[in-house]
Amino acid sequence: MNFEEIFSELKRKEAKDCDSFICEGKDLVNTLEALKAKGYEMLIDLTAIDHGVEASPRFSTIYHLLSLGEKNYLRISVDCEAREEPVVPSVVEVFPAAEWHEREAFDMFGIKFENHPDMRRILMWDEYEHFPLRKDFPLAGIESEYPEQDVVERTDLKVKAAPMAGGPFVADTAGPMSQTEPMAKDQSWTESKPKKEA
């Protein structure tokens, strides 16, 4: 299928795996509807990317479609204009499967999906103030209050940053098994030893 001729609003984007296009936010719903009518009837995935705090555009949402008839994958990406509170139209009307994916993208990146029927967080709790997959969110997390008051009263529970102690866990392959457990190489910051302020 020659996508550019049929869909004038799509701009081809270089990609090594499948047909990939950039679409404007305002054209998104119509385009997906048209693609669905052309056989791209399955929404495989919907996710988002934070290109970095300084990057422009900062956020993109990604839609993967599959045509079962043509046996072809298609990727549509939409760049968000806003840097702090990005907004993208929801595609739930076209693909009902998008509902929870959009909630996840909202939960992790803070991208608001316009006309979504139920725009709530899905993984983190409703009172959480941060968006964990944004590039400016520290890997270890941010200390915050626990939202359930009755549990806090009984246990003094707080949402604490989990020390990453220098990065993701790695496993040594050499040496006895007791020392080859996956652990962070740098143990200078742990639960018992607070992090030194730089």
Binding site: M124, H130, P132, G141, D150, T155, A162, P182
Partner: protein, 181 residues
């Protein structure tokens, strides 16, 4: 050759129909062999927990086969899996709904310490919200490891001062452990 059979077991004609013991020993003996687990299955550890409950490993050998999904009917919460902060309040409330006496087993790395999930979403050990009695290591633990942990729990139950605790509980219902503070 046929030998005369001798009965070395308890002979009521000689010893009478009485067994002398301590109340604590009897109560703990009953409690430790009739643990009703509450399977708090939250991740892959729960699959091993199912294995423990099935015929091959057979937790019924230790009198713990009656898994109850209602906290009101169970007395040992087996936290099997990753506890996220979002789930933590549910875990704690289910624990609060269990009747005394009650015990907690943290099964596997995640329940014990957060395991490999050092992240913003994961509670770094269920002992931050519950008084844990037994930690079982492994990721996930083998069924034998959980059975070993449950046998250690039995040992622990057998050494409790149950009568004293019952008496104290009647005087002051708030003395019971509610978790870390």
């Amino acid at each position: 050759m046929v030998t005369e059979q001798q009965d070395y077991a308890y002979n009521s004609k000689i010893e009478g129909e009485v067994v002398v013991s301590k109340a604590d020993a009897v109560i703990n003996w009953v409690r430790s062999h009739s643990v009703w687990p509450m399977p708090m299955g939250l991740a892959c550890c729960a699959i091993e927990l199912m294995g423990v409950g099935a015929s091959k490993f057979d937790i019924a050998r230790f009198g713990m086969e009656v898994m109850r999904f209602s906290p009101r009917q169970s007395d040992c919460m087996i936290v099997a899996g990753t506890v996220t902060y979002k789930m933590a309040q549910a875990v704690r409330r289910v624990y609060d709904q269990m009747a005394e006496p009650k015990w907690v087993v943290a099964m596997g790395a995640c329940a014990s310490t957060g395991g490999m999930y050092r992240s913003y979403a994961t509670l770094q050990g269920v002992d931050r919200i519950l008084p844990v009695d037994i930690y079982v290591s492994g990721c996930p633990p083998r069924p034998e490891a959980l059975l070993d942990g449950m046998m250690r729990l039995q040992d622990k139950i057998k050494n409790e001062k149950s009568l004293y605790q019952m008496k104290k509980g009647r005087e002051d219902p708030d003395h019971l452990p509610t978790g870390p503070r």
